[in-house]
Point group: C2
Chain length 195, copies 2
């Protein structure tokens, strides 16, 4: 029932108060702080400051709310990737390296947005279908441009490992270790396959 139109409209429309985004922010905070199992409508009501009626007016069901979280996640990821590709084309940088860099940067900038993954996996796994699709597209895009496809796949997997581990709360790496890993990944992905 929830159409994707309203989600895309929010950014393109006039300066109407982005209530939906405020609610989604609150939902992400709840998942991030308390775990996906504690994402209840009442918790979002408390966290957002809106009333229950208001929340359910914008998202007619809990499933719709999570669909909204997933939609925003996908929109953000797509935007970031396209921006990275545009930037690479302008600066003449290796596009694969630029994409890997963007994917890695996503973790720092959009940790809470990615909590949609946990919420969706908990509520009903098929809500992750659009995420699967998006990830597949990005993966194809990166691998098809990469000088060393298997290495590109490994880099993507490592980036996913960082993301998902962070989302699940398994802190697996210190910031400076991560910086070294990221630099190495960007380098590896720019080189042709050895031998």
């Amino acid at each position: 029932m929830t159409d994707a139109r309203s989600f895309i409209d929010v950014s393109a429309d006039t300066a109407r108060p982005a209530t939906r985004d405020v609610i989604l922010d609150a939902a992400e905070r709840v998942v991030s702080r308390d775990g996906s199992g504690r994402l209840t409508i009442d918790a979002v009501v408390r966290e957002s400051g809106f009333s229950k009626g208001g929340v359910l007016y914008n998202f007619p069901s809990k499933q719709a709310l999570i669909e909204g979280m997933v939609s925003r996640l996908i929109l953000q990821a797509r935007t970031d990737c396209e921006a990275a590709l545009d930037g690479a084309q302008l600066s003449g940088e290796n596009p694969v390296a630029a994409l890997i860099r963007a994917i890695l940067a996503f973790k720092h900038a959009n940790r809470d947005v990615a909590m949609a993954l946990l919420a969706a996996a908990a509520e009903s796994p098929e809500l992750l279908d659009p995420v699967r699709e998006m990830m597949a597209r990005i993966r194809e895009d990166v691998i098809s441009r990469a000088p060393d496809p298997i290495m590109a796949r490994i880099a993507l997997l490592a980036a996913d490992g960082l993301h998902l581990g962070d989302i699940l709360g398994l802190d697996m790496i210190t910031p400076d270790e991560q910086a070294a890993v990221e630099a190495r990944l960007v380098q590896l992905v720019s080189e042709p396959a050895p031998r």
Copy 2:
């Protein structure tokens, strides 16, 4: 097969019947099929075939049940890793490569067991503390033996990406692609750092 209860229960007296494992299996199936949010005691009762009293006799609370899942996951992972190290020592194989191989093999053999991660993250994130600890120990172990520590870290992250993506239901790779990635990871992790 050792007793999993001893990890959560101080009274590890006699060899426990397999009932607990049957219940844990059922819980994992529920999470795997329906999502962590649908892991309820009643669902486990239905899935396991035991009565509610029987389930709650073996796991006095939902939290205890999830702790049981986590304990079994950790026990299994540790067993696998130690077996891999022993095997490497006997065959003279590179221990780091053997560990990476074991970690990757874990995905195929123990997918359902790893559903404990989702269940724990949903119920209460601190239940993941022992998992964090175990992963840190394995990581240290691998990295300290690796000829190229950053590469080892990348390989571990890629393996985690595979695992976690699989657990969350984001199927990210086909079996033959994964075979190629695994071979390459094992190779990369055995070589010294370039230049």
